[in-house]
């Protein structure tokens, strides 16, 4: 057992950078990151044995959602090595594909990272993408195989894979069991040995990088920083370098793992600060904090504004819930700087919001929280990307809602493109290549990670991924493929808007922007789907798909011919009246397009792509 404990460890603001090690753990979901963190908390004795519970930090996450306490985005762990007391700062990285930028900032706060891979599964695309990010940030990588106690573990195979990826020897790959604790102490020693101490100008003007910002209903925004140069002390006045806004430091300190106030944070240290701001957008990830007095003039590099890539219209099922939806979005935005929204009206769906997200997963997370935490029933339009449209008269349009696609002479339409990484067993190469080809992909390269696992790199239009790529990939690879992608820019493409008309009336919620070659297939599919979903009315209802004024597909819902119960005698009357009342309630939930009554269930079914959301590549705990 190490001699250093919380009581005698070096304190924040008075710690020699030479004994500090800042590191993070890169891992795929379910590869054991939380369990490993638990073992580290126990070994370093920051959590007493009797208080220990499984997935300690994650549990705090759940509590944070309920507004009780704050998740430790960074935990300060004392650890003795070679008779020296060290401070290990374990920094959390957001887990998923849409938060590449946040991940990059967390990585930028570290000098090293633990690459944690399940010894029975090997590396996944998302982990690989984060590994590349870590390499770009010049982090020291400590490769670790977890779950070596599993019977299905193949440590030899996956050690070779990791060695190949990061350019080391298979013997250098550590083997641990987070579950049993085997190898974890050695891993902490390795962190001390391999990860460089932070270097910074202790006497220079203070510069601290924000790597996370979390809203708490009791304390306001808690901002996590790494002090790169100089020192921040309590009660000092700080300035956000991107906006110039100034705040007083109400509290500064470190987590071990609960928040503990200190006198300040010195060069190389990681901790939190509280200024009393109420909205994470006032304390943005990636921004540089300096002191108002004798502050730095040059910000640390790498700051970006989060940019929404995927949009969807969110509408309350019950129109009277609209104010509740607005309030819920306002609340979520306090803790989500990337969430943008503005009111929108749909002829078919009523009042709602056009909401911008970082990606599909971000969308799923937000939607789920709106439904689960705020009890809202929502209809979401099919997600779409942002298009740039240049007209022949050179006017420019930015289209975030397909129904607003301009009419008239269009010179060019541009769509966002992503760099996608796919990892799968090599038997699925053909299937993946075929899929990417049909989704207008261009192959950039392919590498074997090991004998039978391959990494494919593609450029793909984001719109194709947003459509139903995850599901198609999952079914074509029996769930064995993983996917990661990152926006790289935009391209010009032959895109058209397909409208859906019911009984001659356009249904704005069903309009979609698709590639010209796919317009017909989309039109046929939607018209066919709606024919199944729309109940027969008292008149015949034509369903048409059209590009401009040209009809490309047509279906018909035949008129209903009989809607009468043949018997209506004494014993039937009460029941029949009650049924009538019930049916009238049901009618209130109908949306009326022109004269056509469309049940909300039909809208929901027609708008859900056949997918149930992003699959393997994306699931994350964040």
């Amino acid at each position: 057992m190490p001699a250093t404990t919380l009581s005698n460890a070096p304190e924040p603001s008075r710690t020699d950078p030479a004994v500090i090690r800042n590191f993070c753990i890169i891992a795929h979901i379910d590869h054991g990151k939380s369990t490993l963190a638990d073992r580290m908390l126990q070994l370093t004795e920051v959590v007493e044995q009797r208080q220990m519970r499984a997935q300690y930090l994650d549990r705090m996450d759940i509590e944070r959602e309920r507004g009780i306490t704050i998740k430790s985005q960074a935990v300060r762990l004392p650890w003795d090595h070679d008779d020296t007391s060290h401070i290990l700062n374990m920094i959390d990285t957001p887990g998923h594909v849409d938060f590449t930028y946040e991940v990059s900032r967390s990585l930028a706060a570290c000098e090293g990272c633990v690459l944690l891979v399940d010894a029975a599964q090997g590396i996944e695309a998302q982990t690989l993408a984060n590994l590349y990010l870590a390499m770009e940030n010049d982090l020291t990588i400590i490769p670790v195989l977890n779950k070596i106690d599993l019977p299905a573990a193949q440590p030899e195979k996956f050690a070779a894979e990791l060695a190949h990826l990061i350019g080391c020897e298979p013997e250098d790959v550590l083997r641990v069991s987070a579950k049993t604790g085997e190898g974890v102490a050695e891993l902490l020693d390795e962190v001390v040995r391999k990860v460089p101490a932070p270097t910074g100008d202790a006497d220079g003007p203070a510069r601290a990088m924000i790597f996370d910002s979390v809203y708490d209903s009791y304390r306001g925004v808690v901002t996590y920083v790494k002090v790169v140069d100089g020192r921040l002390g309590k009660r000092e006045r700080i300035q956000m370098m991107s906006s110039g806004a100034t705040h007083e430091l109400l509290e500064i300190g470190a987590n071990s793992p609960e928040m503990k106030a200190a006198d300040g944070l010195a060069v190389g240290e990681v901790g939190y600060l509280i200024t009393g701001v109420k909205d994470v957008r006032q304390s943005r990830v990636g921004d540089t904090i300096t002191l108002l007095k004798n502050g730095a003039t040059e910000a640390l590099g790498g700051y970006k504004d989060p940019k929404p890539m995927v949009f969807s219209g969110l509408y309350p099922l019950d129109g009277s819930d609209y104010p509740d939806l607005r309030e819920a979005l306002d609340k979520l935005q306090l803790n989500d700087a990337a969430l943008v929204y503005e009111p929108e009206t749909s002829a078919a769906l009523g009042f709602g919001f056009r909401v911008g997200f970082l990606g599909l997963l971000h969308l799923e997370v937000v939607r789920e929280r709106l439904e689960r935490e705020f009890g809202l029933d929502l209809i979401a339009t099919a997600p779409n990307v942002v298009y740039g449209v240049t007209m022949e008269d050179r006017t420019e349009h930015t289209v975030t809602n397909p129904s607003e696609f301009p009419t008239g002479k269009i010179a060019e339409v541009r769509e966002p493109v992503v760099r996608a990484t796919l990892i799968a067993p090599s038997e699925f190469i053909g299937a993946i290549m075929e899929l990417c080809q049909t989704r207008r992909g261009t192959m950039n390269g392919m590498d074997y990670l090991s004998e039978d696992r391959v990494e494919l790199r593609y450029s793909l239009p984001l719109a194709e991924i947003v459509f139903d790529f995850f599901d198609a990939l999952k079914s074509k690879t029996r769930g064995y493929a993983s996917l990661d992608y990152e926006p790289t820019g935009e391209q010009s493409a032959d895109l058209v808007k397909v409208d859906i008309l019911l009984h001659g009336d356009k249904v704005d919620a069903f309009s979609a922007i698709v590639h010209k070659d796919k317009a017909y297939a989309y039109g046929v599919r939607m018209a066919g789907k709606l024919r199944e979903l729309i109940p027969r009315q008292q008149f015949e209802v034509p369903i048409q798909a059209a590009v401009g004024s040209r009809v490309i597909a047509r279906e018909t819902v035949r008129a209903i011919r009989k809607d009468v119960l043949s018997k209506c005698y004494g014993g039937d009357i009460s029941r029949k009246r009650k049924l009538l009342e019930k049916q009238k309630e049901g009618k209130k939930r109908m949306k009326v397009v022109g004269r056509v009554e469309v049940p909300q269930e039909a809208f929901i079914a027609a708008l859900s792509s056949d997918s149930d959301g992003p699959a393997d590549g994306g699931k994350a705990k964040k």
Binding site: P535, Q538, F539, I560, R561, K562, D563, V564, L565, S566, K567, C568, Y569, G570, G571, D572, I573, S574, R575, K576, R577, K578, L579, L580, K582, Q583, K584, G586, K587
Partner: protein, 445 residues
């Protein structure tokens, strides 16, 4: 989706029932209740009504429905409140005794006496009596006559009272019919359903084709003024031609009234199970519409006129006045297990099991288990719902502005008759008859 003969298959949850009775008897649904009773407030032990229920009673006709909850066998499509001997034997000894057919008429007479007490000094004679089931003709004719006599004794019958019983073609003969006629019955309704053996088989009907037609002749010979045949269309396996043959056979027998009902496959029936298992293919609802049009054509050609969505008669006198009483908001007392009653805006219903029914009456209590007092709006909605189904239609003045706009559009859409509309009434066209429920949903707005 539930196989359903009506246009309601999209509507989840409660739905009206409506299947012809299991009895060989008629299909008139009178007080017969659905497999589940509605929710409602409790009925007082003495069965008393809120005083306002009798306001203006003198101006409304009063009728009696008498339910006979027994059948020889249960038909595969039936969800009525009826019991076979075997089903009744499953109860405890006391229940079996209470639910016995032998003492049934006596129990029912007790309820007629209760009705007399509850209605107090209401001076109205009874204008119509309808005995339904179940299979009323499973009881001796003398029992049916005895029940009718109780009404005559307690209330008096109007001179021109219509007195109907449902009858199973299998369970009557000329002597039985003569006994009924002599006892005061003047109208009889036979459950014919179909002229085709394969259709009768799917319905589990035991009579042979030709027997119902013979019954009509026997009833007429016995001196019945009015005879009805109940028919069912849209049975799985029935073709358009089978249906035409059924109509021809029925018309050939010479009744003055025909009721035609689409088959509704009710949850929980044997037929529903057979369809679910794929043993029998359900009938498409558009075929029901076709069959209805075939019926309308054949019946009209034979001199019948529709006077309610599912009912046709040769003359005004041939119309069933008892049913008319239901449709026009009159008062009726439904006696027997599960029977429904209505007096002056109060609807109530009896408990379903014959044993519980008998026990209540033996204990001097009302067999009623639930009731509802209708609000003014309920009564307005019911009027639109019921009267629109009649050939006279309903007055437009019943409609709120939104409903009136719906009615105007329905004229344009060909669902309501333009001339009648101009004269202030909503009267269904032939196409409108097939879409009446949809129209009612919009018109009561």
């Amino acid at each position: 989706m539930r196989p359903c003969a009506t246009g309601h298959s999209r509507t989840p949850g409660a739905r009206p029932r409506g299947l012809p009775s299991a009895s060989g008897g008629a299909v008139r649904d009178n007080g017969r209740m659905p497999s589940a009773l509605p929710d409602g407030e409790a009925v007082p032990e003495d069965g008393s009504l809120p005083p306002e229920a009798l306001d203006g009673a003198a101006g409304r006709p009063l009728g009696f429905y008498l339910h006979v909850p027994y059948c020889a066998t249960r038909c595969g499509y039936c969800d009525f409140n009826t019991y076979t001997a075997a089903e009744l034997r499953r109860g405890s000894g006391r229940e079996v005794t209470l639910a016995s057919r032998d003492t049934y008429a006596a129990n029912l007479v007790e309820e007629v006496r209760l009705a007399r007490k509850v209605l107090g000094d209401d001076p109205r004679p009874v204008r119509t009596v309808f005995v339904g089931g179940g299979t009323p003709t499973l009881l001796p004719a003398a029992d049916l006559v005895r029940m009718l006599s109780a009404i005559r004794e307690e209330f008096g019958l109007a001179d021109d009272a219509e007195v109907t019983t449902e009858a199973n073609p299998d369970s009557v003969d000329p002597a039985y019919l003569a006994a009924l006629r002599e006892g005061g019955f003047n109208r009889v309704s036979f459950g014919m359903q179909s002229a085709r053996p394969h259709v009768l088989k799917v319905l589990d009907r035991t009579h042979t084709p030709g027997r119902p037609e013979a019954c009509v002749a026997e009833a007429q010979a016995a001196g019945f003024d009015h005879v009805n045949l109940d028919l069912i269309y849209g049975t799985p396996g029935e073709s358009d031609d089978d249906w035409r043959a059924t109509l021809d056979a029925a018309l050939g027998a010479g009744p003055d009234h025909i009721s035609a009902y689409s088959l509704i496959v009710e949850e929980g029936t044997g037929l529903a199970r057979r369809i679910r298992r794929g043993e029998i293919a359900p009938t498409d609802e558009d075929q029901h519409a076709d069959r209805y049009l075939i019926a309308e054509e054949a019946l009209t050609a034979a001199g019948f006129s529709w006077y309610e969505v599912s009912n046709w008669a040769t003359t005004d006198a041939g119309r069933c006045r008892h049913n008319d009483l239901y449709w026009r908001g009159a008062d009726w007392w439904g006696a027997g297990p599960g029977a429904h009653s209505h007096v002056g805006g109060v609807r109530w219903w009896n408990g379903k099991h014959p044993a519980a029914y008998a026990a209540a009456l033996n204990g001097g209590r009302s067999p009623g288990v639930g009731r509802e007092v209708l609000s003014a709006e309920d009564r307005r909605v019911e009027r639109v719902m019921l009267e629109l189904r009649l050939s006279d239609g309903c007055p437009l003045e019943l409609l709120a502005p939104a409903g009136a706009a719906v009615a105007a559009r329905a004229v344009t859409d060909g669902l309501l008759d333009p001339a009648a509309h101009a004269a202030g009434r909503a009267v269904l066209t032939l196409r409108g008859r097939l879409l009446a429920d949809a129209l009612v949903r919009d018109m009561v707005d």
